[in-house]
Amino acid sequence: MRWLFFIVVTLTLVASPRVEAVQPDEILADAALEGRARALSKELRCMVCQNQSIDDSDAPLARDLRVLVRERLQAGDSDGQVIDFLVARYGEFVLLKPRFSLHTALLWLGPAAVMLIGALGLFVLARRYRAVSGPAAAGAKLTPAEQARLSEILGRRDP
């Protein structure tokens, strides 16, 4: 049985789907260049994976892209040029942070819009409050029955 065990273990290790992401042999000797490559890799999507950057992914495609990024960097491309190259080849889908365009305007401006509309709404409400109600309006609005019930609740808790 030992040989069977050995084969199973070897096979699993060879056929394992969870290969590590960045492989030792991919790493560039130039630390600065490697640092740029890692930073770029975090911004790029592994297109066959679900929501993984090529830096995290163990898929063969991600490896190819990582090697490609490093090749472009070694050839002297700037970060922007590498990104442009990949977008030209694979489309906007490759970017984990979409560029600002007509199609993504709502995405980028949406949160700020919510914030502004909320702030504006608050401002208007605050002004209307001040105009409509005097300080007397802030009093109790409970019916007598509710008031009795409430004081009963309060009374029981704080004897």
Partner: protein, 660 residues
């Protein structure tokens, strides 16, 4: 028989849910106390029958009854008992059953502990709660029946996905669902109030503890899931802005906002309409989360289901509940009277600001999660929205919130004194400023943001303690007096301080891990050493081991610090013959709040082994901070002022007559 028994119990639960959904409402309309009183016992009975169904499925799993399709597809006879049990909810059908179980649990809790609720409110709340139950039990019975049989039962099951065979599965989904589904109570209260067209201060007293309870579970569930992903996925990440994570994060943000606005409503009788809307939104986001995960609309790491009929069914539920509740809100909200005026600079004003930021943050996550789906559906264009987007948009929204956070609890109700509060926060600000200077000097260059982020975290933590320090007179009066005063403080004050302090801890952990983490990728042969920080790890060799349903190849590392052995680390690769798949088991060594993280790559033909080694400073603070937040929630919940959910003491000693 057991499976059929469970199936039948589920059908009975549906019938009970229908009764509970209709009769009490009729009772409220007709002002008939008998019809209204139907709600309570039915809610308990509904829980009983759903629990029976759940128990039946669990028995099928424990007995490895492979004539049941669900068990066959997700279990294996050699699986350890704990994974047989947790495997019940490690699949689509079973997890939906857990969902309705928790839904009916909350309904029953309201029925049992809601003795002092006004009868009309209680009847309405339980009826609304049951509308949700009807929809989801029907969903299970029609599209996701876990009790279906196979005509010719196989001898062995297909086993559970090995990644899910982890204690995390036993804890994470139940906690998360208790949070997610717990928000249904706030929703039911909101709808009940809208149906009746009135809310009072007692209403807020009731809603806040339930929201707090759900929020605590949700916080724990998210933190637990994050830690699980961290140690199981093998590349050291703990938050991926994955749509499924966002699905749980959005209700958390909304629930956090709801907690704070309910505070204003309870204390000052203001923000009623807004609180109701938030309660609706929080549960709607839970439903949207359920839809995203369960419909398979985004096939991501967590998604198991890809059957479109399910998606359409949940979408229908979604439209019905969210659309219906918002329509009701639009119709009824104008009837609700506003009360409790306040100046912009006041505790209320601070809480409104908190809500503005949290809701905007929630909207950011919402837009980012759904935008790619919407864009592809509308134009066919495919874009990706991932971690870099969220980091760029979410951070700027949270920073001002964190700066403002210590101000809130120090401001007075109605009209606050901003300058006075700022003066009281000088101490906290000094702590932050000194930290910035010290870190800046230590780093000597490097990213300029790091010292400021650490300073912000310490300012938040010091700010959270400011109120406690002031109220106990610590540093001014003798220690014993301060201690006595600390004991006398209301628990809710402690709760708020803990929760805010916890957020600071989490922030500190996040910055420490992301900015100071070190990574080493290397190929090692036995006998070779890899070094990180002050630690040297020597690769001693590989061993093979046999687990209950897997084989394991483990690498043995001796960890030394300045030459002294501090421990061993054994990362491993497990292979599961039943599915022909394998998992990577990372090895973790905890040093204070920091961790060494080691995971295995592939062995090379020349006998060397690829390893990834990380030093993760302060990483444990990320989750420890969440635990501190939950402790804060618990303290606040145990405050006597809030203990409305507690059972009433018996008014009179009734002697039970023996049954004749």
């Amino acid at each position: 028989m057991i499976a059929e028994f469970g199936h039948y119990a589920l059908v009975l639960a549906l019938a009970l849910a229908l009764v509970q959904a209709i009769v009490p409402i009729v009772g409220v309309r007709k002002n008939d106390p008998v019809l209204m009183a139907v709600a309570g016992p039915t809610a308990v009975a509904q829980l009983f029958f759903i629990a029976l169904a759940f128990g039946a499925l669990t028995i099928c799993y424990v007995r490895s009854d492979f004539s049941v399709v669900n068990v066959f597809e997700n279990s294996h006879s050699a699986k350890p008992l704990i994974y047989k049990i947790s495997g019940v909810w490690g699949n689509h059908e079973g997890s939906m059953l857990l969902w309705v179980l928790i839904l009916s649990l909350f309904g029953a809790l309201v029925a049992l502990f809601g003795g002092n609720l006004p009868a009309r409110l209680k009847a309405n709340v339980l009826a609304v709660q049951s509308w949700i139950a009807v929809a989801f039990v029907l969903f299970i019975l029609v599209t996701s029946n876990p009790f279906l049989r196979i005509l010719q039962p196989p001898f062995e099951g297909r086993d559970l996905n090995p990644i899910l065979q982890d204690p995390g599965l036993a804890i994470h989904p139940p906690l998360l669902y208790l949070g997610y589904v717990g928000l249904s109570i706030s929703f039911s209260f909101a709808i009940a109030a809208l149906i009746d067209g009135r809310i009072d201060a007692a209403w807020a007293r009731w809603v806040r503890p339930w929201t707090l309870l759900a929020w605590m579970f949700l916080t724990l569930g998210i933190a637990m899931g994050s830690y699980w992903a961290y140690y199981t996925l093998g590349w050291g990440g703990w938050w991926f802005w994955d749509p499924v994570e966002n699905a749980s994060f959005m209700p958390w943000l909304a629930a956090t906002a709801l907690l704070h606005s309910a505070l204003v409503m309870e204390k000052r009788n203001a923000l009623k309409v807004w609180t109701i809307l938030l309660a609706i939104l929080a549960f709607s986001l839970s439903l949207i989360g359920t839809f995203l995960v369960r419909s398979g609309v985004l096939t991501s790491v967590h998604a198991f289901a890809t059957d479109p009929t399910r998606g359409v069914f949940i979408l229908a539920i979604l439209v019905l509940f969210i659309g219906g509740s918002l329509a009701l809100f639009a119709l009824r909200a104008p009837l609700l009277k506003q009360g409790g005026l306040f100046a912009p600079v006041s505790r209320e004003g601070a809480l409104v600001l908190n809500n503005l930021f949290l809701v905007s943050a929630c909207a950011t996550v919402f837009v980012g999660t759904l935008y790619p789906l919407a864009l592809e559906a509308l134009t066919g264009e495919k874009i990706s929205v991932g971690a870099p987007f969220f980091n760029a948009t979410f951070g700027p929204l949270f920073v001002p919130l964190l700066i403002a956070m210590p101000f809130g609890p120090l401001l007075a109700w109605k009209r606050g004194d901003l300058l006075g509060v700022a003066q009281r926060l000088v101490g906290a600000a000094a702590v932050g400023a000194i930290t910035v200077a010290v870190i800046f000097a230590m780093e000597g260059g490097g990213p300029i943001l790091v010292p400021f982020a650490i300073g912000l975290a310490l300012y938040v933590m010091a700010g959270a303690l400011t109120e406690i320090v002031e109220r106990t007179g610590l540093l001014k009066v003798p220690l014993m007096t301060a201690f006595a005063r600390a004991r006398g403080l209301p628990r809710s004050a402690w709760g708020g301080a803990f929760a805010h302090f916890g957020l600071g801890l989490t922030l500190l952990g996040i910055i420490g891990e992301t900015q100071w983490g070190i990574e080493r990728i290397a190929e090692l042969k036995p006998g070779q050493t890899i070094s990180i920080r002050r630690y040297d790890l020597q690769f001693d060799g590989m061993t093979t081991r046999q687990g209950p349903n897997y084989r394991e190849l483990a690498a043995h590392f001796t960890v030394r610090r300045h030459g002294d052995v501090v421990g061993i680390m054994e990362p491993a690769k497990r292979s599961f013959p039943s599915r022909g798949s394998s998992t990577t088991e990372t090895a973790l060594m905890t040093r204070g709040f920091s961790q060494l993280y080691l995971s295995l790559g592939d062995p090379n033909p020349d006998g060397s082994l690829a390893v990834r080694l990380y030093y993760k400073p302060l990483v444990l603070l990320i989750w420890f901070g969440a635990v501190v937040m939950v402790v804060g929630g618990g303290l606040s919940l145990s405050d006597r002022r809030l203990r409305v959910g507690a059972p009433k003491p018996a008014r009179s000693k009734t002697v039970l007559a023996p049954a004749e």
